[in-house]
Amino acid sequence: MFTIEAKRVLTPVTKLIVVQAPMVARKARPGQFVILRCTESGERIPLTIADYDREKGTITLVYQEVGKTTRLLGRMGVGDAILDLVGPLGMPAELPREGRVLCVGGGVGVAPVYPKAKAMHEMGVDVVSIIGARSADLLILEEEMRAVSTAVYVATDDGSRGHHGFVSDVIKQLLERGEQFDEIIAVGPILMMRACVEVTRPYGVKTWVSMNPIMVDGTGMCGACRLSVDGKTKFCCVDGPMFDGHAVDWAEAVRRSRIYLEEEKIAVDHMNCAEGGCRP
């Protein structure tokens, strides 16, 4: 059973859990993810493995409550068990072993960036980081990121901390003032990743993104997660999730992420309703 061993509330809508999953922990590498399901009638959702401890047999997940499944998960506490959890899925990130790398995390995307930054830092890479959120109270894992970076820049949409604006603005400033990076890794909401990629494109700096399309099985069986990279169809769950951001068809990816908008609303309404909170 996938028992929750520890839980931290990072922001009102972002939670970190440490889950007992020895087989997954034994194989996990930075960049990989799991798919889990909370209840018998539940949906399967992907979450990145934000950290792992092979000795203790645990993995760490950080998630933002955006819809029904993540809200259900948010209510689970220490001692509760997640019904199903499978992984590690996806290709491990191919991380550089030297040089200077810029790690960019937006919103809950800081969580998936962290294991990569940590792994590179441990290999001796000079890691510079930018973390962002809508406002200061939604920033996560700042301490953890500082521990593995030589510099950390902060950006908030409302200016309540650090740069007033998007993480992509900060990338631009750094590139404009001539800072050199061998690679950039940007992870976060799809629109944020697209903005970052557009900023770096004129500079020709290799920019990796971690795509997050809708998934079902996570093993290449359904094709729900397909996206176009360099004009070719790829299955994110087996070919990714990391791709060269300059080769991704962003319009298609954004459009596909919205397929179930209507149903996602219905699911949340149905959940509220079942709990006596029906809207009149």
Partner: protein, 467 residues
């Protein structure tokens, strides 16, 4: 000898009713109907039917017991050679197998062997407690790993357990059963029937670990290291194919795998009681002519589509789907567009499907398979307005295991290379069978392969001990 009974039609839900629900279409025989049907069999001394069955079910013998009203005895006879009769009775392509070779079929109609098999299996489930299997006589103390819990894996595991092995099945998904749970819909094969068979295999002492992907969570090498002495790969053929035509990534285009997995495994037809959604347009086109296409199109109707099309590039005679299911689809109002091939999926500004552009085909010279090859008719393009397109073009084996197991060799098309009589792969101690070896085939063939491999594994481990 002349026939006394008659081939009784099995009662079915009326088409207008059944397209509004996911309950089983064929409702089953009453004991009287079964006995009447059983008396129709003339008890051939040299029965052709048995040769047509890939696992050689003792057909005249079990049918005789039904005619006598001794259903328990009939059930025992069936189970001697077929451990999943409730499933085979429902989904075997009988018209290509047992019933094709029934002598009565030459002049009139063959005996309804599949329906009788289903009857005894269902009767047993309702009326007899599953006999607790006897303790294995010689628990060998040896461990065998089975990868995949489809019909191949379940059969192999069950047989090995009966021979005294400690068997663990590793299954990637959260539920056991393979295509039987994620692909074939409830209205053709109720999931409770699959669950019953899975429970039976567990009752033999088999452990089933779901949520384990071999090649990701654990590798074949790890399994050997953990003390498993042989491995059976029953990983199926789960990779979907797309056509490579423009517009295939538009919103509203599904692979049949995704369409059926959402519907069956995740129960999207019960949304929002179940959380997984599916987008069913008013008009749905399913591309393909096999069982998978029939299942997908009939799901579309039940999910609420007003118009449902089958788009198939050859003609009706060439369709590989089971005759019974094609007939069911016709009755339910599915529109068949034969000799029609998609060339482009058309979408609107927002990226949603609005139509399927097709070209008319005509039959030319026979191809390698002996079927006349469909060739496009120049300038005959036309657009069928639809909101959803489901691609049911066949599947190929998933490379996750072969890519992570040194020494395993595969054919160009992805199938595992094995020795036919044993299922032995190119790696010592590793056996394989079912769709992973043959590509998409049938439940009964997958079971047969599981059985073959189980005896080969038994021989291998016995010999190895002697060495």
């Amino acid at each position: 000898m002349t026939s006394k009974g008659s081939r009784v039609e099995m009662p079915r839900q009326a088409p207008k009713e059944r397209i509004k629900n996911f309950y089983e279409v064929a409702l089953g025989y009453t004991p009287e109907m079964a006995m009447e049907t059983a008396r129709y069999c003339i008890q051939c001394k040299k029965p052709g039917c048995v040769k047509g069955c890939p696992v050689n079910v003792k057909i005249p013998e079990f049918i005789e017991k039904i005619a006598e009203g001794d259903f328990a005895a009939a059930s025992r006879i069936v189970k001697e050679t077929n451990s999943l009769p409730a499933i085979c009775g429902r989904v075997c392509p009988q018209e290509e197998q047992c019933e094709k070779y029934c002598v009565l079929g030459k002049k009139g109609e063959p005996v309804a062997i599949g329906r009788l098999e289903r009857f005894v299996a269902d009767w047993e489930a309702e009326n007899m407690k599953i006999d607790t299997p006897p303790e294995p006589v010689h628990p060998t103390g040896k461990k065998v790993a089975v990868v995949g819990s489809g019909p191949a894996g379940l059969t192999c595991a069950g047989d090995l357990a009966k021979m005294g092995y400690r068997v663990t099945i590793f299954e990637a998904l959260h539920a056991a059963g393979g295509v039987l749970v994620y692909g074939i819909p409830e209205f053709r094969l109720p999931k409770s029937v699959v669950a019953r068979e899975v429970e039976y295999v567990k009752s033999l002492g088999v452990e089933i670990l779901t949520n384990v992907i071999v090649g990701r969570t654990i590798t074949v090498d790890d399994l050997f290291e953990e003390g498993y002495e042989a491995v059976f790969l029953g990983t199926g053929a789960g990779l979907p194919k797309f056509m490579g035509i423009p517009g295939e990534n538009l919103n509203g285009v599904y692979s049949a795998n995704e369409w059926l997995t959402r519907t069956n495994l995740m129960k999207a037809y019960l949304f929002p009681e179940y959380d997984t959604p599916i987008k069913t347009g008013r008009r749905v086109a399913v591309v393909g002519g096999g069982n998978v296409a029939m299942d997908a199109v009939r799901c579309a109707l039940r999910l609420g589509a007003e118009e449902a099309y089958i788009i198939y590039r050859r003609s009706e005679q060439e369709m590989p789907a089971r005759a019974e299911e094609v007939e069911n689809a016709h009755e339910e109002g599915v529109v068949f567009k034969f000799l029609t091939n998609p060339v482009e999926v058309i979408g609107n500004e927002a990226g949603w499907v609005t139509g399927l552009k097709c070209i008319k085909m005509e039959l030319g010279e026979p191809d390698a398979s002996g079927r006349r090859r469909p060739v496009p008719v120049q300038g005959s393009e036309f657009v069928i307005p639809v909101d959803t397109v489901v691609m049911a073009l066949g599947t190929s084996p998933n490379p996750i295991v072969s890519q992570t197991t040194p020494g395993l060799r595969i054919h160009d098309w992805g199938g595992l290379i094995v020795e036919e009589q044993t299922g032995l792969t190119t790696r010592e101690g590793v056996y394989a069978g079912g769709d992973a070896v043959t590509g998409s085939a049938t439940v009964i063939l997958a079971m047969g392969a599981g059985k073959t491999a189980a005896s080969a594994i038994h021989r291998y481990l016995t010999e190895k001990q002697g060495r």
